[in-house]
Amino acid sequence: MIAMRGITKRYVMGDQEVRALDGVDVDIKRNEYVALIGASGSGKSTLMNLLGCLDTPTSGSYLLNGRDTATLDDTELARVRNREIGFVFQSFHLLPRMSVLDNVAQPLVYRGTPRGERLKRARESLDRVGLGNRLSHRPNQLSGGQRQRVAVARALVGEPSILLADEPTGNLDTRTSAEIMALFDALHGQGQTVIVVTHEPDIAAHCRRTVRMSDGRIVEDRSNADRVTEHA
């Protein structure tokens, strides 16, 4: 589903050129459960931005479901994000003025889905994350764990190819983190492709495959075979 070949990303900062990614090749198949780990400055955030089609590479090709996204313009990238990617952020990034239900339904607005249909699918999505009874609350009336569940529901509502989570447990305590990761495990069990960007080994251990970044390159790519058997 994801095929990246020779991806590089360079930034110019002042008169210095920074090579954030320096030749990355990676394939991710449907229903994989991948942890993207690495120290800060390793290039994992840059890779996540590229995977999430928030940005385009300086060179290389990125086939997402057979489509090369490296050459798309802003509007086409927005369409791809809307249909293929479900984002979960570290600090939730819910829209504070909207109800939980409207927050979850928001991605469908950009697809032109009629409101009735949107709200129905948002409700279903909230049921999937176990929050079917908090529809009319505002995000600030919820706990951190509940907010992140809302964010997951929002990411799922458009039935994306990839659930892309950036440090999803970074703002949560250990117990709530475990709940969120259990939710990811369950979604993976239902066939969802999940990519988690993290620097915490505990979180990475939930995944079936670990990709480790360092200095803009992939330095380790292994499957967590022991955990596969444990979960199976």
Binding site: R79, R81, F89, H93, R97
Partner: protein, 405 residues
Amino acid sequence: MQALLEAFRAALVSLLANRLRSVLTTLGIVIGTASVIAVVSLVQGFSESIKQQLAGLGGSTLTLEAVNTNENILFGKINRITFEDLETLRYRVPGVAAVAPVMIVQTPNISYRDRTVTSEVRASTADYAPVYGRFPVKGRFIASADDQGRRRVAVIGNELVEELNLPDDPLGEYIRIGSEWFRIIGVMEKQGDLLGFSLDNYVVIPFDVGRAINGNQLRPFMQVSFTIDDVDQVDAVRDRAKRAIQTARAGTADDDTFRIQAADSVVKQFEEITRTTTAVVGGVVGISLLVGGIGIMNIMLVSVTERTREIGVLKALGATRRDILVQFLLEAALLALLGGLIGIAIGWGAGALIASLIPGFPPAAVPIWVILGAAGFSALVGVVFGIMPASKAAGLDPIEALRYE
């Protein structure tokens, strides 16, 4: 359409979230629109009432009057309408029907028993009634015989009955105008007020009687109104009258010393004044709306900065540049339109209040085109001044925006 509706909803939600700020932001637009509506409503009401007053004078009544520039008056060379002009008009211009000269008699004191009031005394002929379209409600008007016989008779305006404390049926009573006694033979129909001045405070006496009282001046101040046989011939008759008077005055007067006007040209003049005033006020208020628009732009820019992260999130969720642009543009337009609507309501109220506080001022009138124009223009101001903030929002890089603290 669906997308526009969604953007509209989003804009509304965001405005309602900051109610106080939204209202304060629109204040410039509110004040601008309110002042234009108030002023225009007063001017329009004024012009409506003048039109109604003059409505009785149709296009078939023409007026011959002298033209005097300030220069003329300074040098004491004052142009007047002469008795010769009157004769010319009456007998030598085909197509002229009735001719009514009006001379103001300079004896303003009128008494009845122990009451003395000041009024306007007009000396005119029997043709006054048909030419001006004003008729007596009691008794009769001046007849030609009154003129020829130099009879001391008077037709009085409605208000004088009360002012002079005359009996309910004043016909046959004697009033004193200056030092002469006049018998009342008629009371004119009521005309009402114009700008707080009564139009019913006057006396009409026979023309030649007035001439005698004025001391048989050769060239008194005089204005002549006349009607024509065929309304369609108005321009032809006017030209004919002009030429006839010029010919009769040959060698003694320039052709710019008098003019002949249709009565409805006064209405047209008022309409012109109304239009000019409205345009000037509109221009001044346009400037205040621009200031209001800059206020909106300012707040929208602040709002875009504040909501940078939110914009980043929306972009991550799949909002295109256009989605963001439309949402912020609509927000600015709604803000300005809201201000416009509040301003229209306040201006309407203020106009009505001012009109009712000034005695005799006609009621304010707000034409629908002013309302639509004001609302449309405020929305346009919002869109124009929303373009910069909205394109700033739309152009944000999602990665930068998401990282924004």
